[in-house]
């Protein structure tokens, strides 16, 4: 799993971390049960604050992508049935679809794009 951060981006660092780990899980680079680096190690490696990594891990845990405990650190959670993820997706997609509508992109194009990205494992 290769993770890179863009300090010049408008997206907060914790959000970039969260997004890239989700992409890693989706593409199969991070497999269920695989251990993630410790908060301290990842913060040191990327030269960022430990709180930033901690926040990203907390969000990932709340969203069910990872699990953690004090003894074993964090690891990729087993795949769920998808119902919780679907709820979150609906919220995110609502905004994306609205943006597409405003931009004049047709429903077919949006569906085709989503299908393409889904099959790519992005």
């Amino acid at each position: 799993m290769l993770l890179s951060l863009d300090f010049t981006s408008d997206i907060p660092i914790y959000q970039q971390l969260r997004n890239q780990i989700v992409l890693g899980i989706a593409s199969g680079t991070l497999t269920p049960g695989e251990k993630l680096p410790t908060i301290r190690a990842l913060a040191q490696e990327l030269g960022i604050n430990m709180m930033t990594v901690s926040k990203a891990y907390q969000i990932l845990k709340q969203e069910g992508y990872i699990a953690s405990d004090r003894r074993n650190g964090a690891w990729v959670a087993p795949r769920s049935d998808g119902s919780a993820a679907l709820e979150r997706l609906e919220g995110s997609l609502r905004l994306i679809v609205a943006e597409a509508r405003v931009a004049g992109v047709t429903a077919d194009t949006v569906i085709a794009l989503i299908q393409k990205l889904y099959l790519e494992g992005a």
């Binding site: 290769l2 890179s4 951060l5 300090f7 010049t8 991070l30 993630l36 990327l46 030269g47």
Partner: protein, 452 residues
């Protein structure tokens, strides 16, 4: 002895110059996607404008090296050690500064070409890249035995030293030399631990390559540290048991250690560079990090967003400071000042060697002056003896440059004594005060009232 000193000085000078030239010349070759401190896309490495900058850079470095080499010849010819030292340190500073200025000029020229041609790498414009698998390497524990064993060996002479301290028979000059040497050995263990925690090497999206490269870099670094630890431990052992008298052998010991460590470090540095280049090619140039914005003149890392203090160089295995952090900036300024102050050691040596010694006697008080004055009260019951030749002596603390002996020396048959004299100006006067302190000076008519 004079010839030997000239030879040693010449060896240090040319022995520093040649590897510095090799290092500087090597910088023109592309490492990963970096040339002369500028990130240039792989496809542009053979552009005529890029090649021209490299050729000009190499030509300038060569001219500077030849000029410095010729200017350094007086080191082998001048008879005075302090002047040899002054020439050597000044020339080395000018040579290193000259190399750096040439590098900066080439870096700026290349950066301008890159800017005008819009060659900025678009893949990643930040240095923050982490490979989870390569990071696992950091979890591998340090082979502590390689460091703890030399620590223990270096500490063996502590046992007789403590005994000597308790019985009051300790030779402080030798003991100080031993204690300073022995303190450096555990420092290498701490440094080794810092290296273990260094960031992983990421050259591409292939984690296997990143893992191997991280391992190679770490292994070479730790080998260097372990070699230093063992050499220092053996030196501490020899100094501690007085197998080598530090006062006499100090330059030779330091020189030998420096040559061995420098030679090994150079080998390791170039081995790591070769591996980096090879593996980047194998990775297929899939990751093109362009973090030039954070590298001032391609040399100094400055990033306020980066919390790390120690930053591994983009090429090779060395490390530098993050000037974006106040502590990093302070340490770098301090190192720079120390480097600039190098010729001052030579100036100080010249002042010492050529300042005449004066003696003044008032009653039973003797004042010896050379740069600074020291006054001794001989007391009522003192002894004065004039000798034509002094027994063999070794320096405990002070200066032994040219014919000057200034400081605390240990003489056979006399023991520890404060000395301020020139060896080529006999006779000498040996004064023993009522409280047992021994003073050794050149004989001067001002001492005549003391000869009762």
């Amino acid at each position: 002895m004079d010839m030997i000193m000239r030879f040693i000085m010449g060896l240090v000078f040319y022995g520093t110059m040649i590897p510095t030239y090799m290092f500087a010349a090597n910088l023109r070759l592309p490492k990963k996607n970096i040339m002369l401190g500028v990130t240039i896309p792989y496809a542009r490495h053979d552009e005529p404008s890029v090649t021209a900058v490299g050729i000009t850079y190499l030509r300038r470095i060569r001219i500077l090296t030849v000029v410095a080499g010729i200017l350094g010849l007086p080191i082998l010819l001048v008879p005075f050690m302090s002047i040899q030292l002054l020439i050597m340190l000044t020339l080395l500073l000018l040579f290193i500064t000259g190399d750096f200025v040439i590098f900066v000029r080439a870096n700026r020229a290349l950066a301008a070409i890159k800017r005008q041609s819009n060659w900025a790498e678009s893949a990643h414009t930040v240095p923050a890249v982490a490979d989870f698998r390569a990071m696992e390497e950091k979890r591998r524990p340090l082979p502590r035995l390689f460091f703890i064993l030399p620590c223990l060996i270096a500490a063996i002479p502590l046992i007789p030293l403590i005994h000597e301290m308790l019985t009051g028979t300790v030779e402080w000059g030798q003991a100080a030399g031993y204690l300073i040497t022995v303190l450096f050995v555990p420092l290498l263990l701490i440094l080794g631990e810092a290296i273990r925690r260094q960031g992983a090497e990421v050259v591409g999206t292939d984690s296997d390559l990143n893992v191997i490269l991280t391992r190679v870099r770490r292994r070479e670094y730790l080998r260097c540290m372990a070699l230093c630890a063992w050499l220092l431990a053996l030196t501490a052992l020899a100094v501690g048991f007085q197998t080598i008298m530090l006062a006499f052998w100090f330059p030779a010991v330091v020189l030998t250690l420096a040559i061995v460590v420098a030679a090994y470090s150079f080998r390791a540095e170039f081995a790591v560079r070769r591996t980096q280049e090879k593996f980047t090619k194998m990775a297929g140039y899939t990751l093109a990090v362009d973090d030039d914005a954070y590298w001032l003149w391609g040399f100094f890392y400055h990033n306020r967003n980066d919390r790390r203090l120690l930053i591994k160089d983009r090429v090779g295995m060395s490390m530098g400071m993050n000037l974006g952090r106040p502590l990093g900036l302070c340490l770098m300024l301090l190192s720079g000042l120390l480097l600039l102050a190098m010729p001052l050691i030579g100036v100080w040596s010249v002042a010492q060697e050529f300042t005449p010694i004066t003696y003044h006697v008032e009653g039973t008080e003797v004042t010896a002056t050379q740069i600074r004055s020291r006054t001794f009260d001989l007391g009522t019951d003192f002894e004065a003896e004039i000798v034509d030749a002094l027994p063999h002596g070794s320096r405990t603390f002070g200066t032994a440059i040219g014919t000057l002996r200034a400081g605390t020396f240990s003489f056979d048959g006399i023991g520890s004594a404060y000395a301020l004299f020139h060896t080529d100006q006999p006779p000498f006067i040996v004064l023993t005060t009522s409280d047992g302190q021994v003073l050794v000076f050149n004989f001067d008519p001002v001492f005549e009232p003391l000869l009762r």
